[in-house]
Amino acid sequence: MFDVVYFSSVSENTKRFVEKLGYSSIRIPLKSEEAASFTHESESVLVVPTYGSGDDNNTVPKQVIKFLNNPANRKHVRAVIATGNTNFGSSYGLAGDLVAAKLGVPLLYKAELLGTPDDIEQVRERLEQLWLTR
């Protein structure tokens, strides 16, 4: 199975979502300079929370941008999963849309906050399927 590479702020909502998935996971460091030198060079899916609302430069967490600035990290990302909150309207999970489009990989799923049991089940199913057809 893919490694789950994710970013989660100190509030750790995304971390808890990822832990519920139950796959091996690696957290992108919180400190930007560490995120910039952090490498992960095996097939992965990237889980990304959304900050900001698309009309500023903060929508994708800067640590994720640092991580993706390294082409070696970038080329192993097979799909993206977004966490967010529908309260943010059209910017719900927007970081996922932006990163997936830039990488040219599918956005597999958008989940709210920590994810419901149904979200977890659906994400697992889609990951298994993607793993088999890769």
Partner: protein, 321 residues
């Protein structure tokens, strides 16, 4: 309420103890808005197409929301201040308090634009007499005035992330039928703010909870689910009072359960209501998340997201004609 402790140190924003304080402050201030900037008067024609009972329902819903925002803007946020962990958190809470007062005032803008004084007075009277609305205020105020800081945070998060939604449903419903679309734009700004408030207070709750004993953590978990269910029972009655006449009660209840689950998640707990009881009407979800290019007419001057004009610094290249 406890006496607010004397501030003994000035807030230094160059020394951040908790990065979430800074993130949330930036997010809240960049989302700042005022109701005067939303062209509610473009809804006057649409308002006149509503039947009398639909108008009454809308006004009752908005006075109910006004009441919650009033509580949160005055007592609610002030009740959280003594427990702030950092001076920056105190600043964020005062921002939250101010925005709640902006929200409360924005319903009055809608009223004064669309309704007569007599109708407005009747709606406010209704809100003071409705037992279920009074009860929800009573339950929350009981904790705000109580002496348990963790329970105050839970009550506050449930207000921000759950109790508003019996009201928020209606403008989203109207919006899905292309009615009161400018009012819906204003409500979406409130919904966006409440998400950040619920996230932030829920996060601070989890920090404080982590320092407690296992027994106390268990107690708080039980308390949180019990309080949600107590409020939910009352919300069901409130919802029936409001929406039975329109036949929408069951649809609203799905929206309540969906948001109840999100409120629990903001507090770090697993959702309670199963998936098939939270299958919110897709038209309502779509109304929450309109595409900027399709939800408003060209002349309304208002989109799904209200944007304050941006500036960009000039660079030398700009002068290279």
């Amino acid at each position: 309420m406890e006496k607010i402790k004397l501030v003994s140190r000035p807030v230094n924003w160059n020394k951040i103890e908790d990065p979430i304080d800074m993130d949330v402050w930036n997010r809240l201030t960049s989302n700042f808005w005022l109701p005067e900037k939303v062209p509610i008067s473009n809804d006057i024609q649409s308002w006149e197409t509503l039947k009398p009972h639909e108008k009454t329902l809308t006004m009752h819903v908005f006075t109910g929301l006004t009441m919650l925002d009033t509580i949160q803007g005055t007592i609610g946020a002030a009740a959280l201040l003594p427990d702030a962990r950092t001076p920056h958190e105190e600043a964020v809470i005062t921002n939250i308090a101010f925005m709640e007062s902006v929200h409360a005032k924005s319903y009055s803008s809608v009223f004064s634009t669309l309704c007569s004084t007599a109708d407005i007075d009747e709606a406010f009277r209704w809100s003071e007499d409705n037992p279920h609305l009074q009860k929800k205020a009573e339950i929350i105020l009981g904790y705000y005035n109580g002496d348990d800081p963790l329970k105050r945070k839970v009550a506050s998060t449930l207000l921000e992330s759950f109790l508003f939604y019996s009201g928020f449903y209606l403008p989203m419903y109207w919006s899905s039928r292309a009615k009161l679309t400018n009012t819906a734009d204003l409500i979406r700004l409130i919904i966006r703010d409440e998400a950040i408030h619920g996230y932030y207070i829920g996060y601070k709750y989890q920090l404080a909870l982590a320092e407690e004993t296992t027994a106390r953590q268990e107690e708080m978990k039980g308390y949180t689910y019990d309080l949600l269910l107590e409020l939910y029972d009352n919300e069901i009655k409130y919802t029936a009072d409001l929406y039975d006449g329109m036949g929408l009660t069951e649809d609203v209840k799905k929206f309540l359960r969906y948001n109840g689950n999100k409120a629990l998640m903001n507090l770090g707990y697993d959702p309670l209501f199963p998936k098939d009881e939270c299958d919110v009407n897709p038209a309502i979800l779509a109304a929450l998340s309109p595409n900027a290019d399709e939800n408003h007419d060209f002349f309304s001057g208002s989109g799904s997201s209200y944007v304050i004009g941006k500036h960009e610094s000039t660079t030398d290249d700009d002068w290279d004609f």
